[in-house]
């Protein structure tokens, strides 16, 4: 059983604590994404699981076993790095096989596994090339192959797609998701990109400043963010935060928020409609993002691409009170009564 658990894990660099009291239980076969901005502690946490960083306090377990003091090679984990970390002087094939050779796996078995990885990843023709002869996406797949053949208990991904261009990123995202489902290996995935996080995760762990903000399934985190940070981090375009009253929505203790897709355009004269002027239109094709000025408030609203008004137009908005997220003075979500 390749479960992973973090129990009260903390990481200090000298006087600064970069990861505070991290608790997480990962089920066997689950894909958990650690997401957050730079400096949120997500990579550090992953590296602590890998054994590449010491743990300042707490216990890390893999499959129930306490691995906190074990060196990386004894933890049965494999990692895919942001810059792929391929050995430049070895061919793709040798890169993938090296870890197995060092573990004295019999050559026949090595060949079998390497061949299998090459098939699954579509690397056949590229196996004898050196990294500098491969494109970014190809190198990434070689890095994944290297991790796969180890048949580890846990896969670790450290922002593997950050160095790829947008289109490739989307494609690789899908491949990683499919691969993980196929292999069923427990996976921890670190990224700063919330789209990646939302699409890949079975569960998300959102981090800020070294502290866990929320843990939950993507939909849950989206619909019921635990605090203002999560509410503003998850979702594109980001949630609108309003201080004070607007239309039928009363002011709250702190700001309240409403998602751009929860605000709709209505005809003039509709009761409780809010008037706003279009400051900017971002046409994305199927959708348009309207940047609006409503009095001293600014809002973003999502509308179907074909129905977008022009810049300077006056529009009328319907804000559904049931869709409003309220937060208290500390920024925590105030649970709604439904």
């Amino acid at each position: 059983m390749a479960t992973v658990s973090f129990e009260g894990v903390r990481k200090d660099f000298g006087p600064t604590t970069v990861v505070h009291d991290f608790d997480l239980q990962v089920a066997d076969g689950e894909l958990v994404v650690l997401v957050g901005g730079s400096g949120s502690g997500k990579s550090t946490t992953l590296r602590m699981l890998a054994g590449l960083e010491d743990v300042s306090a707490g216990v890390v377990r893999i499959g129930g076993r306490d691995v906190t003091a074990l060196p990386p090679r004894d933890r049965d984990v494999a990692m895919v790095f942001q810059d792929y970390a391929l050995y430049p002087h070895l061919t793709a094939r040798d890169n993938i096989a090296l870890g197995l050779r060092l573990r004295k796996i019999p050559p026949a078995e090595i060949d079998r596994r390497v061949g299998w990885a090459a098939d699954v990843l579509g690397l056949g023709a590229l196996m004898d090339r050196k990294p500098k002869q491969l494109s970014g996406g190809q190198r990434q797949r070689v890095a994944m192959g290297r991790a796969m053949v180890r048949e580890p208990a846990v896969f670790l991904f450290d922002e593997p797609l950050s160095n790829l261009d947008a289109q490739l990123r989307g494609q690789m995202r899908g491949e990683i998701a499919r691969l993980q489902r196929r292999l069923g290996t427990t996976t921890l995935y670190v990224t700063h990109d919330q789209v990646e996080a939302m699409t890949l995760a079975d569960r998300l762990v959102i981090l800020d400043g070294g502290r866990v903000q929320q843990i939950g399934a993507p939909l849950q985190v989206y619909q019921r963010p635990a605090n203002r940070f999560v509410a503003g981090f998850i979702g594109t375009p980001p949630m609108n935060f309003i201080e004070g009253a607007l239309g039928p929505i009363a002011a709250g203790v702190g700001a309240w928020g409403i998602r751009p897709e929860d605000v709709t355009l209505v005809a003039a004269g509709t009761p409780d409609a809010v008037t706003a002027e279009v400051a900017l239109v971002e046409l994305l094709g199927a959708q348009a993002h309207l940047h609006l000025d409503a009095g001293q408030h600014r809002l973003i609203v999502v509308v179907p691409g074909g129905a977008a008004p022009g810049k300077g137009a006056v529009v009328h908005l319907h804000l559904d009170p049931a869709r409003v997220h309220r937060f208290d003075a500390a920024g925590n979500a105030v649970p709604r009564a439904d």
């Binding site: 590296r47 054994g51 590449l52 090679r73 792929y84 970390a85 050995y87 430049p88 060092l102």
Partner: protein
């Protein structure tokens, strides 16, 4: 027109640097009667000078000594230097900063200061007239370590992480991950250490008395000091010098860029 003048001046300058060597080479093939002439081609070329040189002093032996000492020194500096540079660049351990600071300080100390005490140390250890005296003080080269460290700092951390996850130990990482990448700096350091050792004359003069253990540059000076006078003697001394210098010049012809770069570290282009 100005171009032609420039080339003429350059040619004259270059001649000033090259001609003495050519003259030296030519002189070694001249009989005693012709020594002292300016011609670069002897009228009656002869190998007599070389024969006398070979019989008068143990040049072959000295050549071997030089080769042995230079090779061992270079290998030691590259191997131990890489290990040390890796530790200084990529491992964090107590006292690392101190060690680094001490290295920089060591570069500032003028050689003369420690010359006598180091010699005294050799005497106390009973290493005078041994290979140990020629090799041990040169096992680590501070400049080389700093150069290698600088290079190792640029190897991405993730490569080391991947290697650790693959199960490699530190020494393995140094020699199978860093070394394949470190061709140029290793060559640079290797070359200047080798040349330094090959050309070194002061230190062997201090610690080696026995002719059988002398290095070639040392033998040359000893030979010169006690050598025969007169034109014949001169040609014989030059013949000995040729043995030392010809391999270097030949290597230099093919590897000029490397020599210049390793000794000046200036990052030349073309």
């Amino acid at each position: 027109m100005r171009r032609a003048l420039l080339y003429a001046l350059l040619a004259m300058a270059a001649a000033t640097f090259i001609y003495p060597f050519l003259w030296m080479a030519a002189t070694t093939f001249k009989p005693a009667t012709e020594v002292g002439t300016l011609s670069l081609i002897p009228d009656h070329p002869t190998f007599e000078n070389y024969r006398v040189m070979w019989s008068r002093a143990r040049v072959g032996r000295a050549l071997l000594n030089s080769l042995l000492v230079a090779t061992v020194n270079t290998t030691a500096v590259l191997v131990f230097g890489s290990i040390t540079a890796y530790a200084l660049a990529r491992l964090s351990f107590p006292g690392r900063g101190l060690l680094l600071g001490a290295s920089l300080a060591a570069l500032l100390v003028p050689g003369q200061l420690t010359l006598i005490p180091t010699y005294a140390l050799m005497v106390q250890l009973g290493w005078v007239d041994t290979y140990a005296a020629l090799i041990v003080p040169y096992l680590f080269n501070v400049t080389g370590i700093l150069i290698l460290r600088q290079f190792f700092l640029q190897v991405p951390r993730s490569l080391i992480d991947a290697a650790r996850l693959d199960g490699m130990g530190e020494l393995r990482i140094i020699f199978t991950v860093f070394w394949p990448l470190a061709g140029p700096p290793l060559a640079m350091v290797g070359l200047f250490v080798f040349m330094g050792s090959w050309n070194e004359v002061l230190w062997p003069l201090l610690v080696i008395r026995e002719e059988g253990l002398m290095t070639l540059p040392q033998l040359l000076t000893v030979f010169r000091m006690g050598g025969a006078a007169g034109p014949g003697g001169l040609a014989v001394q030059l013949a000995a010098a040729m043995v030392l210098v010809v391999p270097v010049v030949v290597a230099y012809l093919f590897l000029q860029r490397w020599f210049i770069e390793s000794m000046t570290g200036t990052g030349l282009k073309g």
